[in-house]
Amino acid sequence: MSTLGIDWITCEGRGLCAELAPEVISEDPWGYPIITPGQLPDDALPHVRRAIAACPALALRLVEDDRRRS
């Protein structure tokens, strides 16, 4: 079970992620990603992994949900 995390400071709004994983990522009027909140659907995972690898700023990461929230 995983969600998509983003480092907003590193993100430069280049838009590759929205191109590669449109099921989960769309773009706001300024080119920054709008990530559908919640668990990532299993069939979107391969696209999401490509988006994470392709991000020029390496701003995306997969967050494993391990119920250890404080």
Partner: protein, 426 residues
């Protein structure tokens, strides 16, 4: 009324409590010869929550930092956050000016509770820096601080007091927010577990360590115990910082200052807070009660807007200020806040575009949760509350009219007059 004044007793206005001897006369000496667990247990029993705006249970923060520390990570750092970036709030300045020893006592309590090896007090650049440094020096000569303390200053900007910005600055960088993972209680200054507490929270800790958790609960509500420092301004006769138990009636708090003109709306919390309709009847100042009108106590700012002043104009000025105070690190905030400010200004100036309120709502949803800190969320919240509370004013503006008869700005936006010392209220 005087029984409410724990942090700022009436004599505080005269500055006597800056003297260490007087401080010990009034409050007694702080005894730290108890285990950290006992100290944390007292704070837990007291039910103290953060007074910096977020209202997080203080004992949980202490425990988190304490358990995060381990030999490989280094001993924790504790920071007293006195960088009050909120223009409409004066409580931290007043507290540091009139009762700095309570804050510094509290910092020592926190340091003992988490096992810290370093303590920092973080304030805006300006006269307060040397004033606080002198107080620290006096304490050092009296040898009452087991954990060495130093002052770190930051530019007087709105964002300087944000938790990760504080850590960044103390760590030698710029006072700008950092991305959260890992959280500061795990890795903060020098990659060590770091505790950041508002100065008022620490002042309360200093008293809890002396008098106990049950004493703290003697005032306030069951769910939100203790007293709180409110900064009251606007259509009140004596604007200033007032200490009152949580759960006090809004009318009582304003009445202490006495209204100088009719009031239809009150800003609660601060510039990341919300407007509420005053005509709604009686309001109790507690999170539990304010929840019903979508508000929270936040940093204790209470501004009574005179009915003769246009709430839309005031809000647009504040949101413009907030947009300019963005750290400009995250795209949605950097782009979205000026867009919200632009739309609000359009509304305020009577631009007859009926889509403006909807635009503001859309933009608000676009910026919420999409940034390294909660600056866009807070700004959107404040703007959204204005759309609700000033609905009738919006209708007027959209046909090119406005109900205002007074045009002097009420809410401050940074250009503070040097002498705006709001004294401690009666």
């Amino acid at each position: 009324m005087t029984s409410w004044e724990r942090l700022l007793p009436g004599s505080g206005a005269s500055g006597e409590l800056r003297d260490l001897g007087t401080h010990h006369q009034v409050y007694g000496r702080l005894d730290l010869r108890r285990s950290a667990h006992v100290l944390i247990a007292d704070i837990r029993e007291a039910g103290l929550t953060g007074r910096g705006g977020a209202g997080f249970p203080s004992y949980r923060k202490l425990e988190a930092v304490r358990t995060a520390s381990r030999p490989t990570r280094g001993r924790p750092v504790v920071i007293a956050n006195g960088a009050e970036g909120e223009p409409a709030s004066q409580k931290d300045k007043v507290l540091l000016t009139h009762a700095p020893h309570l804050v510094l006592d509290g910092l020592q309590v926190a340091a003992r509770a988490v096992g810290a090896s370093e303590a920092v007090i973080y304030v805006h650049e300006g006269p307060l820096v040397s004033a606080v440094a002198k107080v620290i020096e006096a304490r050092r000569r009296a040898r009452i601080d087991p954990t060495p303390t130093r002052v770190v200053s930051a530019p007087a900007r709105f964002i300087s007091g944000q938790e990760t910005a504080v850590v960044s600055r103390v760590d030698g960088g710029l006072a700008l927010p950092r991305s959260v993972p890992p959280p500061v209680y795990q890795r903060g200054v020098g990659r060590r577990p770091t505790l950041v507490n508002n100065v008022e929270t620490l002042a309360h800790m200093a008293l809890i360590a002396r008098y106990g958790g049950a004493w703290f609960r003697g005032l306030g509500t069951e769910a939100e115990p203790g007293t709180m420092l409110f900064t009251v301004s606007g259509a009140v006769q004596r604007p200033g910082v007032l200490e009152a138990p949580i759960g006090v009636d809004l009318d009582q708090l304003l009445g202490i200052g006495q209204l100088t003109s009719p009031v239809h709306a009150v800003l609660i919390g601060g510039y990341h807070g919300t407007w509420i309709e005053y005509a709604d009847g009686r309001h109790t100042l507690s999170d539990a009660s304010l929840q019903s009108v979508g508000a929270r106590l936040g940093a204790g700012v209470v501004v009574a807007l005179p009915a003769s002043t246009c709430g839309l104009v005031e809000t647009s000025r504040v949101v413009t200020y907030l947009a300019n105070e963005s750290a400009r690190q995250c795209g949605p905030c950097l782009n979205g806040l000026p867009a919200i400010a632009h739309a609000l200004t359009g509304l305020a100036r009577g631009r007859r575009d009926p889509s403006l309120p909807a635009q503001i709502e859309t933009l608000s949803h676009l910026v919420e949760g999409r940034g390294a800190c909660r600056h866009p969320d807070g700004t959107a919240r404040m703007a959204g509350s204005a759309l609700r509370v000033f609905q009738s004013e919006i209708d007027l503006h959209l046909v090119g009219r406005c109900s205002a008869t007074a045009f002097a700005p009420i809410l401050p936006t940074g250009e503070r007059p040097a002498r705006e010392s709001v004294g401690v209220g009666a």
